[in-house]
């Protein structure tokens, strides 16, 4: 059947690209509604303080100001992904816990007036001792940021499989290293914005989001409005990468202002606010102890990872676990102990990141290279030896359904002319390899499956209704391709209505690799339902068995006698006249272990399937300046089946930039709870001139459950590109690199430390 596909598997122009190249695509800050007011938020200047009093009297008397909201306007509901992480009030009540926290919101006739009003709001603070470093926050006697997290430990994930100590005792070689990684900034090009409009008892909302349904649910709880009265609308999203997954304080503040004024309100954050007051990435410190047998088989792993969690739980246990899981999904770990601690500090709120875990993942891979070198092994061979294969289980009991690590490794190595991991002279080129596996179709304990409706209009044109959201990666186009393939119509016949909670049914959202595997399956199932209805009608009309009929080129056509055919629209019209219009429904939920829980029971089938990937970076390092350049980067990703190969490549290439090149330059810098580089001049991101020659290799494993065999499009590169570059630099220099990112100063420090004999 795969041989006969005409729409999927082909390089397709994305359906959303026309509006984007002509400037017609609307993003939230482009929206202008009649009588719309403009909002600004008063933010905490303190990292930790008690709020004694807020007086908005003067602000309210300023002409043009329509409303001021504070926590008193809310319902005292706190947000968190899970019941045990609900600690974030969204507007500060009794205390502020980070610089930039939302304290009050103003709606006025224009932004200038709203800004002026902020200066007139009088807030009386009692500054409290603050703590910024997770190690200090965990110490006895440290200031307590939330009452109910002793030693500021927000989440402790403990995983134990086998007998680690016994395995270490028997191991041929044991190494322990500690790696530190600074946090990155998501730096979506679109700064955060929200438009809220409350009329007739219904709240309409637009904001860059990665799951309208998850967002609407959170806001329904926070605002105490029924779910069908909170309508998160479709809008283009200017990048996501994890930053738009969860509800944002701006959503709540803007909603309160719309409720209070009865007028539409728009909040547009500045670039600096976007960096400091929406979500950020977790810095981390990972201590990794590994035991291997003589032949390089990993026999034991012991991990202690401390995540700097910022002021609130946010994605709490998820962020505390994911780096470990994407590692255990790649490699066989017979004995393992993982202790992940997420620690609350007086810094901004954090979330998941597409490249989350570079300290842990890069650390593991660099350490594996050191072990391989000690054993006289090729770093590729040690990865192949320990890589999981289909049918095996991960340490915590997820069965691998398709793929496996071997093929991406071999394909990447072949294309990159893998040199066996030989240590080059720094200025020559050296190679490094990074591997990872990623969960696809992964409900995470709070997300739904996806469902889809499809109706065939009486001219044969198709309306497809799906909750799948597109934050830039091409999900909308992918859904249209799948529907066009099943229904035998060209792409232009399909009108996709998506990501609008008034109309669409539940969908998990565009994060954690659900769009292709979950949303795509729901679309495919709905279209197959509609197709079966059409074929049933046609069979009666053509007096032919339905099994012998198919849909192709807008026609119902016999598989055995191509002369036997009729236009699909005739069948559809007939169905309308008979009072049975063609309307298909479909849903999909991955087969997982519903008892599995992040903290209480981290064992059992975690996701529907897993994708595999390997990247090989080629670097050269100037030992005088510490500057690393990357002339060439090869990455192989097992996406199952590429619905649109061009879009899959795009994800891989973007990942080389955002994870790979970032490991050389990207970091958020802090002082006393203040983010020092919140703008795009000080926060360095890769430009076109920084990029290597990229070769993207699509590996097909044809997942048995994925739509047309598809899993996900490119996340393994996002989770291993940092490792590949770090390993290559490590190979070039032959000295331990324990601090990421590998900025020139850190590279020089590592070289100096090795000279002084600090390293091993």
């Amino acid at each position: 059947m795969k041989d006969q596909v005409t729409v999927v598997g082909k390089r397709q122009r994305r359906t959303d690209s026309l509006s984007k190249v002509t400037g017609q695509a609307l993003y939230t800050a482009d929206l202008k509604l009649p009588r719309m007011l403009h909002a600004k938020v008063l933010r905490s200047p303190h990292p930790h303080a008690r709020i004694l009093n807020i007086d908005a009297g003067k602000a309210l008397r300023l002409p043009g100001v329509k409303a001021v909201v504070t926590s008193a306007d809310g319902h005292g509901v706190k947000w968190g992904v899970f019941k045990y992480t609900q600690d974030h009030p969204m507007i500060a009540g009794d205390k502020v816990r980070y610089v930039g926290e939302d304290v009050a919101g103003v709606a006025a006739i224009d932004e200038e007036t709203a800004l002026e009003a902020l200066d007139l709001i009088e807030v009386e603070y009692e500054p409290l001792p603050a703590v910024f470093d997770p190690q200090e926050a965990m110490a006895e006697g440290a200031p307590l940021i939330h009452e109910d997290y002793p030693r500021n430990i927000n989440i402790h994930v403990h995983i134990e499989v086998g007998d680690v100590e016994e395995a270490f005792a028997k191991a041929h070689l044991v190494r322990e290293d500690t790696f530190n990684a600074a946090g990155e900034a998501y730096s979506t090009l679109e700064p955060y914005a929200v438009v809220a409009d409350f009329r007739n008892g219904y709240l309409d909302l637009w904001m860059p989001n990665a799951s309208p349904h998850v967002r609407a649910k959170a806001l329904s709880n926070l605002l105490k409005l029924p779910l069908n009265r909170v309508r998160v609308r479709h809008i283009n999203v200017g990048g996501h990468f994890g930053s738009r997954s969860e509800v944002s304080p701006g959503d709540f503040v803007t909603s309160l202002l719309a409720l209070k004024t009865g007028r539409p309100v728009r909040l547009s954050l500045t670039r600096e606010e976007n960096a400091t007051c929406t979500r950020q990435v977790h810095p981390m410190k990972a201590t990794i102890k590994t035991g291997v047998s003589k032949d390089g088989t990993i026999t034991a792993k012991k991990f202690k990872v401390v995540y700097d969690g910022g002021a609130y739980s946010s994605t709490g246990p998820i962020a505390t676990s994911i780096p470990y899981y994407v590692y255990e999904e790649a490699y066989r770990l017979p004995n393992v102990t993982y202790d992940g601690y997420r620690v609350i500090t007086n810094k901004g709120i954090r979330g998941m990141y597409g490249c989350h875990g570079r300290g842990f993942l890069g650390g593991n891979e660099m350490q594996l290279d050191m072990i391989a070198r000690d054993l006289g092994m090729d770093p590729m061979e040690i990865r192949l030896k320990n890589g999981l294969t289909p049918g095996e289980q991960t340490a915590t009991g997820s069965v691998i359904k398709s793929g496996g690590l071997a093929e991406p490794i071999r394909k990447a190595a072949e294309a990159a002319d893998w040199n066996g991991g030989k240590s080059g002279s720094p200025l020559g080129t050296s190679q490094g390899m990074g591997c990872v596996a990623i969960m696809c179709g992964f409900p995470m304990g709070f997300r739904s499956g996806s469902s889809c409706y499809v109706k065939i209009n009486d001219d044969g044109q198709v309306t497809l209704v799906s909750g799948v959201v597109d934050t830039g990666m091409g999900n909308e186009s992918m859904m249209v391709q799948i529907a066009a393939e099943v229904l035998g119509v060209p792409i232009e016949d399909i009108n996709l209505v998506n990501a609008d909670t008034e109309i669409t049914n539940l969908d998990p959202g565009a994060y954690s690799q659900s769009a292709a595997f979950v949303g795509g399956n729901a679309v495919k199932n709905a279209c197959e339902d509609a197709k079966n209805q059409i074929l049933e009608f046609a069979a009666a009309k053509l007096n032919y068995p339905a099994e012998d009929l198919d849909l192709k080129d807008r026609m119902v056509i016999s598989k055995t006698d191509p002369e036997k055919k009729m236009p699909m629209r005739w069948v559809v019209r007939e169905a309308f006249f008979q009072g049975r219009p063609i309307a298909g429904t479909g849903a999909f939920m991955p087969k997982i272990d519903f008892q599995r829980e992040w903290v209480k029971k981290p064992y059992g089938q975690m996701a529907g399937t897993f994708s595999y990937g390997c990247s090989v970076a080629e670097v050269s390092v100037d030992p005088e300046t510490g500057l690393v350049t990357v002339p060439r980067f090869t990455t192989a990703h097992d996406c199952g089946y590429p619905i649109n190969p061009m879009a899959v490549e795009g994800q891989m290439e973007g990942s080389v930039q955002q994870a790979g090149m970032a490991v050389l330059m990207e970091e958020t810098r802090w002082s006393e709870g203040h983010l020092l580089n919140p703008d795009l001049l000080e926060y360095k991101m890769p430009l076109a001139c920084d990029m290597p020659e990229i070769e993207s290799i699509i590996v097909r494993s044809e997942d048995p459950e994925g739509p047309f065999g598809a899993k996900e499009g490119g996340l393994t590169t996002r989770m291993n590109a940092h490792s590949a570059i770090a390993c290559a630099v490590h190979t070039a220099l032959g000295v331990p690199l324990n601090e990421l990112p590998l900025t020139p100063d850190r590279v020089l420090k590592a070289i100096d430390a090795a000279k002084k004999g600090d390293g091993k």
Binding site: G23, F241, R271, G650, E653, G654, Q657
Partner: protein, 158 residues
């Protein structure tokens, strides 16, 4: 606030307006003329999302005052197509998959147009140098460079 009388051409239309003295060209385009295809990414001239063509040269409208554009010929992304016919760069950005979230796309296309209008036959290095004035967070730039290369005039065999 003091206002300044300006006359300029935007996408071929003659515009006369009294603009507040501190209004940026970006604000004038987006708020007054409702040409929202020009995006604000940073407000400090760092990212290039607000790039327009000012007398044929790429310019960052977020750090340019509307008053400074007095007498200028401004082209925004909305002014690129001729009727139904798209500019070749718009076609090749779609064909090559150079568009992801789309937020940088208008600025990127106008930067590339600025280059190709000056130099119909740029080398790959010249293309990379040119688009390095704009940030993209999604694509890794590879397909953007390919799209510009595909639009450039066929190069001499070099």
């Amino acid at each position: 606030m003091e206002k300044i009388h300006v006359t300029l051409t935007v996408n071929g239309d003659r515009i006369e307006a009294d603009v507040p003295q501190f209004q940026t060209l970006l604000e004038m385009l987006r708020d007054t003329l409702e040409l929202t295809g020009t995006k604000e990414g940073c407000g400090q001239g760092a990212c290039g999302s607000c790039t327009v063509l000012l007398n044929g040269r790429p310019a960052r409208s977020c750090i340019l005052l509307a008053a400074e554009a007095d007498g200028a010929d401004v082209v925004t992304i909305e002014g690129l197509a001729e009727g139904e016919r798209l500019h070749p760069l718009q076609e090749s950005f779609m064909d090559k998959g150079a568009v992801q979230c789309g937020f940088c796309t208008p600025g990127m296309i106008l930067t590339a147009k600025g280059l190709l209008d000056r130099n119909q036959n740029p080398s790959k290095t010249e293309i990379i140098t040119s688009v390095s004035s704009n940030l993209c967070r999604c694509t890794g730039y590879k397909k953007i460079i390919e799209a510009v290369e595909a639009t450039a005039a066929p190069s001499d065999a070099t």
